[in-house]
């Protein structure tokens, strides 16, 4: 006979949904950015390979030339911001996993975002001149 006390509650679809109600925007954004970067990985591999596989060296050069025009330089910076968020928030999550700053989660979040803003500003300063030359 099964005992009720030791039985874990069966998983239900609403468990997944209820976790969105924790108000954890940082977590939700971590998930969305992770999926965005995964989607970008496939775009990256397919865009780079299809040109050279289907059209050879000249086609590769044409593809790269069009990928380094201003709209794509802005897109690169946006992608960089997405990766920065995921990486810095990921570091923050792993610090909590090993017990660091457990009681300072919000402060650490904003410190990480400040670091991210500085890195993004510096890389924009390096990259944007390429869009306007």
């Amino acid at each position: 006979m099964r005992t009720q006390t030791m039985q874990p509650r069966p998983r239900q679809a609403k468990d997944a949904i209820s976790s969105y109600r924790t108000g954890s925007w940082a977590w939700l954004l971590h998930r969305i950015t992770g999926l965005l970067i995964l989607a970008y990985l496939y775009f990256h591999l397919i865009a780079l390979s299809s040109a050279v596989w289907l059209g050879g060296m000249a086609a590769f050069n044409r593809t790269v030339a069009s990928l380094t025009t201003p709209p794509f330089i802005f897109a690169d910076l946006a992608l960089f911001a997405v990766i920065l968020y995921h990486a810095l928030n990921g570091i923050r999550l792993m610090m909590f996993d090993v017990g660091w700053f457990i009681n300072r989660q919000k402060v650490v979040f904003w410190i990480m975002m400040a670091i991210g803003a500085i890195i993004l500003a510096l890389s924009s300063a390096a990259m944007l001149p390429l869009a306007f030359r």
Binding site: L38, L41, L45, S49, V52, M57, V64, T68, M94
Partner: protein, 122 residues
């Protein structure tokens, strides 16, 4: 929470791959992009750079680690839904196949530059 559903090893390896990714992504972006910022990118310039093992090494390392981390992350998201053990096994198996295919595909993205042919075996 998702981390406890995915299993101890996937949970741990997600952290290990995250730390490796920090290294590989910083190396990939810094050494391969920012150090040559503004220099024109052509088939020829990429092929010449790839002659140095650091470039191919960083790219292949990044490929394997990012595919594991990304698909393992996707698995823990999928496992937030109510799945039977059988469905969980199907998801895990399906993602492993997708991952292996992606890595083989990704290795061959560099093949034309390294060997002058689209696939490194043929």
């Amino acid at each position: 929470m998702s981390r406890y559903r995915s299993g101890l090893w996937p949970w741990l390896l997600q952290r290990v791959s995250a730390l490796l990714l920090l290294f590989f992504i910083v190396a990939h972006l810094w050494i391969e992009h920012f150090m040559h910022l503004g220099a024109p990118i052509t088939f020829h310039s990429v092929a010449v750079r790839l002659l140095h093992w650091t470039y191919a090494g960083i790219d292949y390392g990044l490929l394997v680690v990012v595919v594991y981390h990304g698909l393992n992350g996707l698995r823990s998201i999928i496992l937030d839904a109510a799945l039977t053990p059988r469905q969980v096994r199907a998801v895990t198996g399906g993602l492993w196949i997708l991952g292996v295919v992606t890595v083989i595909f990704g290795i061959n993205v560099l093949s034309p530059f390294l060997w002058g042919r689209p696939w490194f075996i043929v």
